[in-house]
């Protein structure tokens, strides 16, 4: 906190624009951001863009290798699987399942987690201590294990997986919001507005939230990469999306039996997951870097 600059601050762009200006400086981060946007567009418009239906079988072209292979066919750019379904269409549809759903999951758990976290930051004493310990317990159970247990309660299926992952992600958001709000509450500007007579809720929404929103968003990118991996892992274990759905993890486990004769049915979904997670992580990394830089300047 450089206090002597306080009168020059009018010349600076708003905090959010500052963040963006630092964020866009790194080309690698911008590539990641571009890929992230690309995936988002694909997730929304995949039904319009795909050449074939993801469940349509082309029985005279089973297990075609990708088009760059000698035996490949250009009308099936990334080949077909054991039932003659077009890999490209399935991967594109899978974007809206694996990537798109992870986005929704993160937003739901973000909202719930931030509400619980900020309320808990306002409590003190035994209630707060109990919550702290409870969070410690939940956070130290492996997230996938917890998700598996919740799936075992609710029964397998894509919807239940999503709820399970929402519940697993909530404690992380509670934790980070709680710490961030507590940190802000000790600062002078909060005291100033408290002296002005603002109530706790008003302080939260007008003073604290604008200052911690970036921290929460950067946690959200971390949570999203974890959510993509968890959805795919549960799909892979056969606990998530049912087999005909083109979810990337389920596609991967579907290809295992044919791994040796048709390796593309396994490595393409894997690469898709890797691509989505790398893009998400790059955006998050760029954001954290930008927040740090802005703090230093």
């Amino acid at each position: 906190m450089a206090r002597h600059k306080i009168y020059q601050e009018e010349e600076f762009p708003s905090p959010f624009i500052q963040l963006w200006l630092i964020f866009r400086q790194s080309p690698v981060v911008m590539i990641g951001f571009g890929s992230f946007l690309f995936l988002t567009v694909l997730a929304v418009f995949s039904p319009l863009l795909t050449p074939y239906s993801p469940v349509e079988s082309h029985l005279n072209s089973l297990l075609l290798p990708p088009a760059w292979d000698d035996a490949g066919d250009i009308s099936y750019l990334l080949g077909t699987d054991n039932l003659g379904r077009d890999m490209l269409s399935r991967l594109m549809h899978g974007t809206s399942l694996t990537f798109g759903l992870s986005f929704i999951v993160v937003i739901i758990s973000l909202v719930i987690g931030v509400i619980i976290g900020s309320l808990s930051a306002l409590t003190k004493g035994i209630k707060s201590s109990f919550l702290n310990h409870f969070l410690d317990v939940i956070l130290s159970i492996p997230s996938l294990l917890l998700a598996i247990v919740i799936v075992a309660i609710l029964g397998p299926g894509l919807d239940n997986t999503l709820w399970a992952i929402v519940m697993v992600l909530i404690p992380q958001f509670v934790h980070i919001t709680r710490n961030a709000v507590k940190e802000e509450l000790t600062k002078d500007y909060v005291l100033a507005s408290r002296l002005d007579g603002a109530g706790s809720l008003r302080i939260l929404s007008y003073s604290v939230f604008p200052n911690i929103i970036e921290k929460i968003v950067s946690q959200a990118t971390l949570a999203q990469s974890a959510a993509i991996l968890d959805i795919a892992a549960l799909g892979f274990l056969g606990l998530g999306a049912p087999i005909p759905l083109p979810e990337w993890g389920a596609m991967l486990s579907n290809g295992i039996d044919l791994f040796y004769i048709a390796p593309w049915t396994v490595y393409l979904p894997g690469l898709a997951i890797l691509f989505a997670v790398v893009a998400t992580n790059l955006v998050g990394e760029g954001m954290r870097h930008a927040i740090r830089q802005r703090k230093e300047s």
Binding site: S129, H133, F134, D136, V137, L139, S140, I141, P142, S143, L144, L145, I148, V149, V151, A152, I153, G155, S225, L229, A232, A233, F236, L237, G238, L239, G249, L252, S253, I256, F259, Y260, P263, V266, Y267, P269, G270, I273, L274, V277, V278, N281, L282, E285
Partner: protein
Amino acid sequence: MLVFIIRRLNLFFFTMLLLTLLTFSLSFLFPGDPLVNLSGQINATPQQLEQLKLAYKSDQGIMQQYFAYLSHLAEGDLGLSMASQTQITSEIINLLPATIELSLIALMLAMFVGIPLGFIAAVNHRKTADNIILSVAMLGYSVPVFWLGLVAILVFSIQLGWFPSAGQLSLVYEIEHVTGIQFIDILLSDSVYKWQAFRDASAHIVLPACVVATAPATIFIRLARSSMLAVLETHYIKAARAKGLTFRQIIFRHAVRNSLLQIIRHIGLQFANLVTIAMITEVIFSWPGIGRWLIESIYQRDYTGIQSGLLVLSTFIFIVHIVTDFIYAALNPLAREHNHGTS
């Protein structure tokens, strides 16, 4: 130090209480009769059910039921597995050592690879080496573990044929089950083929351990890098530099030790992550550990199994957590003193 120990034990007690509450409430949340879920006896006769009711006090209040459950746990009775109708405790005692072996070896591997790489990256801050190490770390952090395991099997077991693709030890070797940790058992056994068996066991563990270690190693790279960078900024490093120590002396004598401290603190936190990865890896490599058993018990709707597996795995993670806390406090006097107020 005494206050520190009491605080930690208190925390451990409290977390175990919450954890057992969680597993106890699972028996009500799972479909089916809570009593059957707790005991795992699906084919019990009416007389046996009466006995179970007495043992688990299920006709009394919920607190009595919980304490009955706790006393069963204290006696080491986790109930019967619904799928195989054998004692879960004995199954877990058979399986847990394999998981401990795999996860500890992977943790070692991750630390020995990740931490030096992180230090190298920090010393070459914002140079080519740093950038390369960071990009590799980003890739390794993002790769889905089940895919990595499959690709590793395809490349190293099927195409190159260097390592076996499944299991813990070739069936040719007959090793007596003493501790359950394969390497110790082999060394204890008096077989003529001891060293061949040892080599075979090592070949079996290479691929799964590497796959499990990948993601934690990248986290260690980042932790080591940031803690080394923080240490290099401090005044005592400046003082050491002003004293005229060479770069090598500064790094090895002062910087490495102090930054290792910060990393040790995070090992416990990373361990939960590592165990998750180990569970999936066990499925892929058919490793006879508790993770694979747990996932199979989900397929078989073995609720007693799921409940006890969760309890045992989480307890294992807590114990590692607490042990690293103690190691950290033993190495760093500062950590012992700051524990009085609420943290």
